[in-house]
Every structure is written in structure tokens, then in C-alpha cells.
């Protein structure tokens, strides 16, 4: 396996762990974003960091988006005093539609498989204009377009 194969494999595994922690049946694009923010040593990680987006900040933004979207339907999360449910440690959440789309967009953003790097995966996630990720970033006051430019620059310079 090449370096990028190992990286993508690690990100998908970490994304699945994030989905499992969430109790989500699917691994979604926002789970992959949490995984990207946990893997140091990439241009993607650096760009997220300079936008103030470490794993914890992304988690907070996602939680805020969840509460915000529920409130549009008149539902308050604070009204539910739920015990945390137990999880099946052996369950592997499958890749959901948003995660698959992000990976497809990452491959399209690179010039061929040999060019594919972590930054392209971040671009693939950030390209979505609709859905949980752009909504969470907007609520957190993050300029998604500027962040994409911050990833494209090191990618063009050949950074990993």
C-alpha cells in the first residue's frame, strides 16, 4: 500500500470510531473531518489548525449545528435527559453517502491517484455546500472558501 492508501485507511478507521462514538449507523463526512483534524503532520491538519479547528473545536461546532437544526423544528436538546446508550464495540459503521461523496471529490480534486494527498481529502469534504459540515463551519464563523484556499496553496507547492 502507498502512503496515501495508509493515510486514507487510517482516516476511515478513525472516522468509523467517531461514528460509533456518536451512535451513528453511518460514517459521514463530518466524521472524516474529525479524523483529519486528529492526524498531525499534513497540510490539511495545518490549515485546519490555523483556522482554529482542532478536533475539539470541530466537535463543538458539530454539536452546535445539531442543536441549531433541531431548534428549527422546535425541538430543544436540553429537554432530553438521556442516559448515554451502550455501543456495540464490534459494529463497523459503513461509509455513508456524504463520506463517499467527499472521497470522490478528493480524487477529482487531485490530478490522478499518484497526486492524491491528505489536503485533497480535506478539499473533498469542504467542497460540500450543503449538509452538516458547511452548516457547522458557518455557525462557527469559519470562512469555508478561505479555508479551501489555505489548503490548495500547500498542495500546489507539493506539500504532503
Amino acid at each position: 500500500m502507498s502512503k496515501i492508501d495508509h493515510y486514507i485507511d487510517a482516516i476511515i478507521r478513525q472516522g468509523m470510531a467517531e461514528a460509533q462514538e456518536d451512535g451513528s449507523a453511518d460514517t459521514e463526512a463530518h466524521h472524516l473531518l474529525l479524523a483529519l483534524a486528529s492526524h498531525e503532520g499534513t497540510a490539511a491538519h495545518a490549515a485546519l489548525g490555523s483556522a482554529g479547528l482542532d478536533r475539539q473545536a470541530i466537535r463543538a461546532a458539530l454539536d452546535r449545528e445539531f442543536e441549531h437544526s433541531l431548534s428549527a423544528a422546535g425541538v430543544s436538546l436540553a429537554a432530553y435527559d438521556l442516559p448515554t446508550p451502550s455501543r456495540d464495540p464490534d459494529r463497523r459503521p459503513r461509509l455513508g453517502a456524504s463520506a463517499r461523496l467527499a472521497i470522490e471529490r478528493a480524487i477529482a480534486a487531485a490530478t490522478g491517484k499518484r497526486d492524491l494527498r491528505p489536503g485533497h481529502l480535506l478539499l473533498g469534504i469542504l467542497e460540500a455546500e450543503l449538509g452538516t459540515v458547511p452548516r457547522a463551519l458557518a455557525l462557527a464563523g469559519v470562512d469555508r472558501t478561505a479555508l479551501m484556499a489555505d489548503v490548495r496553496q500547500p498542495l500546489a507547492a507539493g506539500s504532503w
Binding site: 428549527a72 432530553y80 438521556l82 451502550s86
Partner: protein, 69 residues
């Protein structure tokens, strides 16, 4: 309701909340000694469906389950 994107995002969020609520409520019932058929009837689904969806994680968590009837 507001703009289409808010309404659609509310659908996604409500589904997530419903899934969480189901996991928590089924576990609470089974820990309280409910049977699979009772939980299934309360949820309005078959007991095969509720068993398939929740049995593994509850067994892994060490919840004492009543036998399926």
C-alpha cells in the same frame, strides 16, 4: 418552517435525535426487565427488528436480557 436548507437540516438532526433516543430508551427498558416483545410492541416494530438492532450492543454492555419469547 424557515428556508429549505434549515428544514432539510432539521430532518437530518431529528433522525439523529430519534436514533439516540431509541438507543437510550430501549436500553433503559431492557435494564428495567422489559422483554423484547414488549419493547417491540411499544415501538410498533417486530421483535425481530428490535432484537437485530439492539441485542448485540446490550449483550456487549452486560445487560441481563430476558429470553425471547
Amino acid at each position: 418552517m424557515h428556508e429549505p436548507d434549515d428544514a432539510l437540516a432539521a430532518v437530518v438532526a431529528l433522525r439523529r435525535l430519534a436514533d439516540r433516543l431509541e438507543d437510550a430508551a430501549v436500553e433503559q427498558a431492557m435494564r428495567a426487565g422489559w422483554s423484547w416483545p414488549e419493547v417491540a410492541e411499544a415501538l410498533g416494530v417486530t421483535r425481530q427488528a428490535v432484537h437485530k438492532k439492539h441485542a448485540k450492543r446490550l449483550i456487549a454492555a452486560g445487560v441481563a436480557l430476558r429470553r425471547r419469547q
